[in-house]
Symmetry: C2
Subunit: 316 residues, 2 copies
Amino acid sequence: MTNRITELFNIKYPIIQGGMVWCSGWELASAVSNAGGLGLLGAGSMHPEVLQDHIRKTKRNTQMPFGVNVPLLYPEIDRIMQILIEEKVPIVFTSAGNPKTWTKHLQDNGIIVAHVIANTKFALKCQKAGVDAIVAEGFEAGGHNGREETTTMCLIPQISEAITVPLIAAGGIASGKAMAAAMALGADGVQVGSRFAASKESSGHEAFKQMIVEAKEGDTKLSLKKLVPTRLLNNEFYQKVRDYEIKGASVEEFKELLGRGRAKNGMFMGDLAEGELEIGQVSAMINKVETAKEIIDDMISDFISTVASIKTLSFK
Amino acid sequence: MTNRITELFNIKYPIIQGGMVWCSGWELASAVSNAGGLGLLGAGSMHPEVLQDHIRKTKRNTQMPFGVNVPLLYPEIDRIMQILIEEKVPIVFTSAGNPKTWTKHLQDNGIIVAHVIANTKFALKCQKAGVDAIVAEGFEAGGHNGREETTTMCLIPQISEAITVPLIAAGGIASGKAMAAAMALGADGVQVGSRFAASKESSGHEAFKQMIVEAKEGDTKLSLKKLVPTRLLNNEFYQKVRDYEIKGASVEEFKELLGRGRAKNGMFMGDLAEGELEIGQVSAMINKVETAKEIIDDMISDFISTVASIKTLSFK
């Protein structure tokens, strides 16, 4: 398979592993890249020196292209950018910030830049900033999300019509069927988060992975809308958030409830009751812990048979 | 094109026009059926004698199969069912109620029955009740919606894996691209609401149709969750609902705010400020008022070219 995304990143399959907090370290990123996708380190949960260590380990463990996802609101952002350039990271996905700030600087240093958005307005801003690709993330995605609540089904065709740069669909994609659907909607590639969060190589806590595997329909909800809309998995912390939402709690009350370190405590340390567990709606369809290679191979074989079955839908 | 849905309903294209309150009378249903889709009358906003009149007019205006959508919580449900049988309506879509109650009775009278659901639990209940087809409606759909907030991208593959009866996808579908995506996800057909609500033959108020055409990304939100989750278009009434949600208003306060007749006042009478305007998220992509035939022809031609472009995504 060759298209604009495989050519841009020089990868075999147009499958990008989302750079997630607490789940995507060097083991996952290198395994995904070795399996033919694009592995991303999630800088959002790493101190600069930890990130540097993960970049070096990724380089030792794969000869294939890999990347780093960087939330631009990160406090030590200048140091992070310096490391990415010094370490000659080939690809950077930026998110949660203005794409104008860093895109040109990274590109001037030979780095391919993609930026993550959730609406057409920001997609156009990204294109104007000269990004090489855009990730459009739908309402069903895990973790931080857009305020418009536009689903992948509605978002991808709108962004696809508005922009000319390569488009990666995210949100609700964990199978070859969803990958084929995203491409029918106008995407050139897909970003997969939740299924890789539950993978063998994920650095997420084993108990968190098990909880993803057991998650059922309706077990995630877009929550914390008065702070940053975040899709959470149902647990005791989530129940408290929901009670606050029902009673109309204030921004300050939400901030106090959330506190600090809950995401790490939940996803990395395994505090399933009180941790902040970020995962996508598609977790309801994830039923086992697999290796990154098993996930990619399964998605590709499912994609091939889905495309073949769509071909039979012709007119008589 | 022939598949389980075209064969079940004896229609040319697997496109069903959603039976919507205040928008889908005999003019729309007969126009859709004449154009090769399945037109549905929306009984939810019709008194029994009005429905009977619309059924008769539909029969006079099309020789093709058509149907009626009936919310089972309708107060005069027994009278409605009697009319459907007396008038020999060939197809009935039931919703908002228990599929066990009426399915067999309708089928015993020669009627094909589909039921609308938004989660796997109810899909299985439908199958057990013996329905001929299931409509699975995602979070992005307009009007009343499920509590799980599962999007079409996540819902369709789950339902498709769980059931064996033909599956119709609804929510976010207004183009051939989305139709191809829905079929990749496992659907046999699609139900289209919003685009037909804005069609020339829709009985919705012209000002409402114009507002759908002008709707932008983020202009609809799933609202009134303390009553029945309902996707509303942004207007003055919606702003009040939103303020109530932010302050955590009670069920009683929401009921008082909603009052009675707001849906009719908005969608049928054209009170764009204070009316309850129910429409899907995909309204952001609907940019003109067209005839039902133009909509179906455009969807089919878009579907054909989308399927053709997916075919080029093969492996080298």
